[in-house]
Symmetry: D2
Subunit: 401 residues, 4 copies
């Protein structure tokens, strides 16, 4: 049977940012085929996008519900198998729910939904559907982030002491930055983004990175969010102190108003015997400082024998031939394709860590909610109660057999 | 008509290094479709490769001549339009000639052929064919290399004074490195590689990078090649002094026996008013030092407004979302696809600099020949006479109208 | 009259860390002469130290009070003019007070004293004495830190939005690190260090750096201190959220238990129009990212014409001849020597920012106190009330006329 | 007896570049005392310099011969012990000869003299004198350069294959750069500099660094020197291929016309099992790439236990407290002071590698001569014959007992 997995896409029409990224990521490894799309609610834009992306006219839609209905009616061999949700945040929930309820797997851009309540609702739908649900937390899909995870979780550096993660962008630094930018507009509009701006948009990436690398959940937060540019309705900057399960402490900063910054996401994980540093803008290096040793720089490469084997399996080129953001994103598509093939074949599903599951989505929104409440009360807020609202966080939809 | 350009591939079966790179690069932007392939001379390996790459069995071949004959017989709308030549060096000439003579465009891995004589012969075939011929000098396809070219050629840094280029690899550093490695074996075998090992394999990349950025040809060379690992039959290490058309001087080092090195290609271009530095292992940065100013680091990004517009057009992501080696390679495929579409439509062809033309191929092999002769004679060797053997180098097959 | 200023030193005997640094810093520019010393309370160690440092036997003491009495009795032309206090923290107060009350200027290692109460008491003594008092906050004395200050305070980057400062060391990461180390012992002993370990020792450096660069005081703090290594009596790790006078926010992390870290102090100052980054471990570079511009790296050098003139005046070498930690420390001695000469000559005193004054000392200890209280209460703590306990912080002892 | 060694200085009056560096370097560790000086041939400038540097008037001279005569007549306990020669190049020979013949040790700025003939003459004088002679090749005095030497010479990286050294400056990049600059004027004037400009001034540093690290002499050279800025009489730019004793190859580039460059000296040493990289502008790091291992960065620090013990002995601060150019220079003074004390005490002299001896001076000027001749003849020139002109190079004046 065909190795390729068939994808329908909702959102991501011409001219957007994240849609093309998803399409390139899906195409790179030849394991996913775009077979249907609802790229825009505007029929003309939907059509011209579909044409450009090489789809036949009868599989291009301007109404996602119609797309789901029509595709459901197709025969098994040609029907789309999963829906990539690439819309602004406020469409994540309805599109995901509709797809899941029709029996399609879902791979969604983050955040999973606009609010904690929405994502808890989504979690129930995911669990009831028996379908796969994945979140594209891109940064966890970089191979050297997985290497960091391996090193921390194998305890080779001893217990985690302190984590520092910063995600600094500058594209909303000035009042005028929201004028005439579709990207900027919906991200600063509570109707599209939900209850948080910056913390939901990029703070959740930072939150996920901490949990992914340390293998520990963030259990409490003390945050200070602000709207630095007057006139906005959501946070555009903030920072938080946090605690991990083992008692380790951390700081998380997320800001979109740091003039001159690009996409400066970096993390340091300090342990008793050594410290790790990773910067997204040079993602193929992992700096490791160990007591009594020369500093080390781990370099990505299928031939870097000192990397964990599963890390090398996520790489495509030898050391010194840099892979970047699109390749990280492609890892998510490759992983999700593997999961869909497993499901298709009735095999059990590998635990592919880098694709976020719905539980990670819940914890992300719980973190946002906790940060907002903490900031309002100037106090520490525990996060575990939020998780319990939606059932146990210990269940993971993607289980290893 | 279809935007996608149809590609047949010769070489590049499963398990090789450069074949998958070509396929990912071709797939990334959705402008090229793999429709036929002769991935191996071994029928079984050819077949399983074709299957893996999603080709129908009747378009998978184990004899490139048969592939060319059969594809020629296909109707216009489905027939492959160009041949990607991804074989070891000694097949570059026969495959390219066969394809061109049958009217197919050719996009070839470098070097164009094994020897200067071969590439001069190929040049005649290219010129007679009326077909497009392109060489995949990947490194010139990095956006910030084009930015360097723009800055140097616009004279904003004043006249070029001195160029230093080094290409250091370590994968052949030890005698045992050729055991059991297909890659290593053919590269150190004169029957497959031609008259040079390291200088033909990676020295030509360095040579092309110098000419691409400065816009000047290397006119004379004084080289010192050696076989550092005893028992080999070709150079595995060497360096050269060189001169550019304007009298500027340079050094070029190429080595595959530098223990611990990955793919360390770097270039510095020193001009009267400033100096540029680019390193392939962090390709999305271009360091610029100008007299009396703070050092600058130009960063890749579709939104980096200070980059030349045509440089930004070669990028896919905003600043801080790194693109790498595969994306650079994809630029070549995107460029070549644009050239094929132009040709297809009878439009005149844009001068897309990053795809090397046959004249660049001749100059590359002339450089190798000059280096070998210089090294043997311990003397400077002018390169212009070599070019003239094959007709004027001023003709470029890809001309702007 | 002699350009050289005469120094007596208390503490800093052979084998310590900070004593030799002070002596090299004092010697470097030939403006300070060591004329007397009480290097140890152990007479033998005091004597051998004095001999090694080239002092005549009659100016070597093992009792600081005797040194102050004896030096007071000397004639004007030869008597020491200031006392460098280089002892463990708990001696800072008594030595400084004794010196000031005897009419000697004081240049003290930080912190000014062990507790907020002590430093407020010291402040009164300083004010009553009419003598100069300086604190060696080394990091503010790096030329490019002054350049950062100039750029932020001139508003060329617009209003400050967010500051992030981290000071991570690893030398106390393991329980055994305090065994057999004099340094480590007194720093983890409340009787010698005061009420805080890490925050007093290095957190105060980070605090001072923020205020020095931004020109704003930290007005409120929300901290989370911990003793990461069981069995210690003081904090060895902590982090804080803070607010600046203009409403900007920040995070401050200070830790001595980050395995593998050396002396990793770094700061980022994000403003509306650009962001600055400085790392102490490469102190001769200042990274500047401005909206719409290539990233810039300001490089130290007397010939770096783009640096502020007063920054260049703090440098000794041309660009590319790195100055480091000792040179930064020497800037403090050069500045303090200039202040002493002014005082000596009855001239008014230049406002030399890099030498911390007693008010900076008070704010530093107020920050430590605030952090401790905040951490205990899990709440924000305003710092301004602490300042007022000791009189106005607006008075600066070193005023420009 | 006094630990301090007494120095007289010739050259280095106020306003120059290298004089203050020598004085700070001499002062830093308190092992050298400036007791006499002939800072200028202009009596007024000599006097005011002497006053500024704190010398009594009767030990300040404007005639170096008079200084040598007068100091010779002083009693043993106060007389200067060595002469630091800090003049423009053409004074190196006469001042050194006069000092040596009067029985004073000499520590000279490089090059040892203006021409090969001069330095061979000087060598005879050194050998006849029984005095110590040292050359301040500063860059070899950086601790991590010694670490590189240790690693290469201990063979832990296997045999050296290829060396690349580049010394790029920009301060003479434009015609106007020699106007009004004393530094620039004498360096481009054959009467002051000798037969070479750039290669003598900085090429000799690069040459020395190669030999110091590899422990091998450069035995043959093929060079290409040029005068890039029209109107000058000496080379201001050049490059060379070279060979080492073991057959390894290298490239050496030295240029003073690279616009925007500061003092960019960097070296790579590629061996069979690994490669080393050191850059003078971040001198406290040594990058090490070894086959099959993560890249390593060795960091300077008295507490960096992985550094060779003798390397740590050349450091003053713990890891993360950067030492720089002045400290490297101070290492030379500290070493030379130790040598003088040994000589003074009749003890035999330690082999302190970092201070260049006269044989290194000869090899340096032989390299310059060979490069000039090679460049004129476009041919390889062996260097060993030049050495033999002045006797065996195997003799070293500074021998270990």
């Amino acid at each position: 049977m065909d190795r390729k997995v068939r994808m329908g896409m909702v959102g991501g029409g011409e001219g957007g940012f994240i849609g093309p990224i998803h399409r390139m990521a899906a195409a790179l490894d030849g394991e996913v085929e775009l077979v249907a799309g609802c790229f825009s609610r505007d029929p003309g834009r939907a059509r011209s996008s579909g044409e450009k992306f090489g789809l036949p006219a009868d599989r291009v839609y301007s109404d996602y519900q119609q797309m789901i209905r029509t595709e459901s009616a197709r025969s098994n061999g040609g029907r789309m198998e999963f829906v990539a949700v690439v819309t602004p945040n406020h469409w994540h929930l309805p599109v995901s729910v509709a797809a899941l309820e029709a029996g399609f797997h879902v791979l969604s851009d983050k955040p999973a939904a606009c609010t904690l309540e929405e994502v808890l609702e989504l979690k129930k739908v995911v669990e009831a559907s028996g379908c796969l649900y994945g979140l594209t937390h891109t940064y966890a899909a970089y191979p050297l982030v997985m290497q960091a995870r391996e090193m921390v979780q194998s305890n080779m550096l001893g217990p985690v002491r302190r984590v520092g993660v910063t995600y600094a962008q500058g594209w909303l630094a000035q009042p005028g930055d929201t004028h005439g930018s579709k990207q900027a507009n919906w991200r600063t509009d509570p109707r599209c983004s939900g209850e948080s701006g910056c913390f939901a948009d990029i703070g959740t990436h930072a939150h996920h990175l901490v949990e992914y690398i340390t293998g520990q959940w963030i259990t409490a937060v003390c945050a200070d969010l602000q709207t630095a540019v007057a006139g906005r309705h959501l946070d555009d900057d903030g920072a938080a102190l946090f605690k991990l399960e083992n008692g380790a402490r951390g700081t998380l900063t997320a800001s979109q108003v740091c003039g001159g910054e690009g996409n400066n996401l970096n993390i340091s994980v300090h342990c008793e015997l050594g410290s790790l540093f990773w910067e997204q803008e040079t993602p193929d290096r992992l700096q490791v400082k160990r007591r009594g040793q020369a500093d080390a720089v781990y370099r990505a490469g299928v031939d870097s024998a000192y990397l964990a084997e599963k890390v090398r399996a996520r790489l495509r080129t030898p050391r010194g031939h840099p892979e970047g953001y699109i390749e990280a994103f492609a890892n998510l598509y490759r992983d999700f394709a593997a999961m869909v093939r497993c499901k298709r074949d009735g095999r059990c599903i590998e635990n592919v860590h880098a694709v976020g599951d719905i539980a990670a989505g819940v914890r992300g929104m719980a973190f946002v909610r906790g940060a907002i409440e903490s900031s309002g009360q100037s106090a520490w807020v525990p996060l575990t109660p939020y998780w319990n609202q939606g059932g146990s966080m210990l269940s993971v939809t993607v289980a290893k057999c």
